[in-house]
Amino acid sequence: MTGFGPDEFPLAIALIGCATALLALSGIPGLFLRHRPGWGQNFAAAATVVAALAGLSSAVSLLLFPDPSSWLLDWNLPFGDCEVAVDALSALFLIPVFLVSACAAVYAIGYHPAREHRDTEPGMTFFTGILAAAMVLLLMARNGVLFIMAWEAMALSAWFLLTTDRGKPEVQRAGTVYLFATHIGTMALFVLFAVLRTETGTFGFPGIRALASTGPATAIFLLALFGFGAKAGLMPLHTWLPAAHANAPSHVSALLSGVMLKMGIYGIVRVAFLFQAPPAWWDILLVVMGAMTAVLGIAFATSQRDLKRMLACSSIENIGIITLGLGLGMAGIRRGNTTLALLGVAGAFLHVLNHSLFKPLLFLGSGALIHATGTREIDRMGGLAKRMPTTALLFLVGSAAICGLPPLNGFVGEFLIYLGIFSDARGAAAPWPALLAPVLALVGGIAAIGFVKLYGIAFLGNPRSPEAATGHEAGKAMLLPMALLAILCCVVGVVPQPIIRLVEPAASSLMPWPPAPGGAIATLPSIGWLSVASGGLLALAALIALLFRRRLAAAPSAVAPTWGCGYLAPSPRVQYTGTSFSELLVNLFEGAVRPDRTPPILSGLAAGASRFRFAPTETILDRLLFPAFSVAAGVFAFIHRLQHGQMHIYMLYIFVTLFLLMIWAH
């Protein structure tokens, strides 16, 4: 695909290195050009696009022509060699980082223009670059300490980004919860790398399936599941995610949701596949967590009233599907079922790429909606398809893709997972994976409820508020990245073979058996037929549309108001709202979703005006974690006295601690 021959591979890695540096530096000119608003932002966007082109071409070439070379950097720190490398797994996860950060940087020019946000824009541009660079570095790191450094740089720059609107109390609360969650996760990672070091003797990463699954293997796996799972948003560690993604500026949400969550997945993959013969309960745990996360995530999403909170919850669902695929892959490896193993992992990886296409598309689209209407509440929008036709079309592609509908990309990823499940169900001795086909189908069904609601209420019907009635189309800088992502969604859906070729090296690098020559999945007859069927479906739809248009043109057509069933005084307020749309489902999931309902109080014969209030809650956060934390705060109040803000006494603490440690060491 690119111009690199097999001999020039260091060039590809060097290009990724340069791209990282460019990303990290892209925001710096803006910090010094505050008197010329826009220059820094435009420079950053240009630099990010250049970095993305270099990085994407290198990552793709490394996937197509794998090369095991790695670099040792001299960093003079007592943590072993500073090793960076790009293997198939890293290269695969690099693709979303570069693609989405370029889209976000271009989008920011229209969405968060420097001229209107002179105080927040330079910082935001700077930290966007740092976030992207940190993620690239994290994917290349082969040393635990370097990994943790990149991980923290990523986590902290994300915090700075998502608290851009620092003035708002809900942003502050979201930022605090995020900071706690990410650091509790990081603590688990510190322990994880410490245990790994006692096991292997270095901070360097062991290769895939290099360790025996004895000794502390279980501890390592559980720590990884906790530390990385918290970042990925696996239930029940997802509590920070909806508020954080909803309150960040939209292009930042696209980066956080489309890319940063995948770093958690990357970590889980790296650690879970370190061991030679993991016990059965590992893959069962992954599958169960994945299924639970997917079902509950999408149930939460469907109950939301806030546009971005809903998208954030649906990211939890997608992470669940990815985890489910990984678990199936591990199960396939354990049981020696090559088809289930390869299709499960490849389906999960394809879903990683797919989710990084449609989720940023939807977040960028929601930014356009918020720009136009000034609200995030779905029930206050409506009728925007007329005022924002291009956004409406692109958003439709994203919504259909995320529901896994053919002929779009979301379907292809789920198709691979289904194919794995079915092939296992066909002949295996204990085909428990078969139970997951109905679960995935249920998830798809609920996703359709959520996204029909989101799209139908926000874009269709009559405007429900004056702001929605005067909404305006987004600018070119915002539409361009969205269009790119939407086109990719369609292309991958109809012609999935090239992207499957990209996913396959990463998937087969995790397999204990040699990869099939020429790519086993991309050349499957099913994939070819899928492509034919998708094309046929499009052709069929086009044919019917053509005949339908001719019929419409042949007979007279009139314009009349929507039939209101005889009701004489309709107003936009009469329309079905998103809350009513999802009510049936929310009732079914009452036990998990537990929305806060305040029913209207009617009294007397001629009852006056009354209000019904519906607010989805963060079940685990509100009912479990916050009460637990307030109990803990009461219990640990005495420790609070140690913290008083006097610097010299803090330094005394440090000195005393060091002194005691030295005595203990000798």
């Binding site: 109905p438 249920l442 019907g461 899928l530 339908f548 019929r551 329309q575």
Partner: protein
């Protein structure tokens, strides 16, 4: 080749006849003469000649709804075998595409309903997506069971490769599966006891209330699409229920047509002797169908 042509002709021409037979059956039960068998064809022809009325609220999605729904259903019709003859398109995993094509159609039908801005149509759309989301797992339990029993991953293999031995060996499982699929067949096609396809303006309905605002050719497409969906899901049911092929391949086409007509009469009988369920009972019945098919899977997995 001849098989493919017969398949296409059947899928193209036969669906409205099922509606006619159902109507005639219901009339017979009610002691009426009823409309002619070919009435649905006359209705379609008349609708396609009529003019249209469009609400100023609607956008292109309102027009795209019937088109995409029909295209998706027609594509599904190409993947389902009729009787013991293989389908024109068949590949490993086509069962998944089959299920998701109906989801695609539903996605656009419900969006078109919301496009009118009518609260009634919003209500219908909400019910449609919720109930079909409960029906989806049933279909997949059934597909997994069939894949396990026949060792095939494509609909053609699952449905034409279903020898009588499977029925004899796993009869209990097959009966549970059939019961579950019959419930799904009725609910997905909005038949009584889930929905009443003949009332057009009541708040207890699902499908008809969603298409209140469609008129002329657009309504014709919807009507035909609904008939085609009944035909396709009916063929799925008949293929499972009747694994015994005729000894002569040429005889299998009339056998298939005959069994489809029997199915239509069966549906008409169910509609005649049952009343529509209360809305709150529908999810319970759908979950019961899921449990039935889940049991059918467990029976063969043990």
């Amino acid at each position: 080749m001849a098989d493919t042509i017969i398949h296409l002709l059947l899928a193209l021409l036969m669906p409205p006849l099922l509606l006619g037979v159902i109507g005639k059956t219901k009339a017979a039960f009610a002691g009426r003469v009823g409309a002619p068998y070919l009435q649905p064809y006359f209705d379609l022809a008349r609708l396609f000649r009529k003019g249209s009325v469009f609400s100023p609220t609607t956008t292109w999605i309102f027009r795209a709804g019937p088109v995409v729904t029909l295209a998706a259903t027609a594509a599904a019709a190409l993947m389902i075998p009729f009787g013991n003859h293989p389908a024109p398109i068949s590949f490993a995993g086509d069962a998944v595409l089959f299920a998701y094509l109906f989801a695609l159609g539903r996605f656009f039908t419900t969006l078109a309903a919301l496009d009118t801005g009518s609260s009634f149509e919003g209500m219908g759309a909400a019910r449609e997506v919720t109930f079909s989301c409960l029906a989806e797992p049933t279909l997949f339990f059934a597909l997994v069971t069939l894949a396990r029993l026949t060792g095939s991953l494509s609909l053609t293999g699952m449905l034409t490769g279903l020898p009588a031995a499977v029925w004899l060996g796993a009869g209990a499982s097959m009966i549970l599966l059939l019961c579950g699929m019959f419930i799904v067949l009725l609910s997905e096609n909005c038949r009584i006891p889930f929905d009443d396809p003949n009332t057009h303006l009541e708040l207890t309905m699902i499908h008809e209330v969603m298409v209140l605002d469609h008129s002329g050719p657009a309504f014709g497409l919807i009507l035909y699409g609904a008939a085609l969906k009944l035909f396709v899901l009916g063929a799925f049911f008949v293929d499972i229920a009747l694994p015994f092929g005729a000894s002569n391949p040429a005889l299998e086409w009339p056998l298939f047509v005959f069994s489809m007509l029997v199915l239509a009469i069966l549906i008409g009988m169910v509609e005649s002797v049952m009343a529509r369920l209360r809305l709150v009972r529908i999810p319970q019945l759908l979950v019961a169908a899921t449990v039935l098919t889940a049991f059918s899977m467990l029976l063969i997995l043990r």
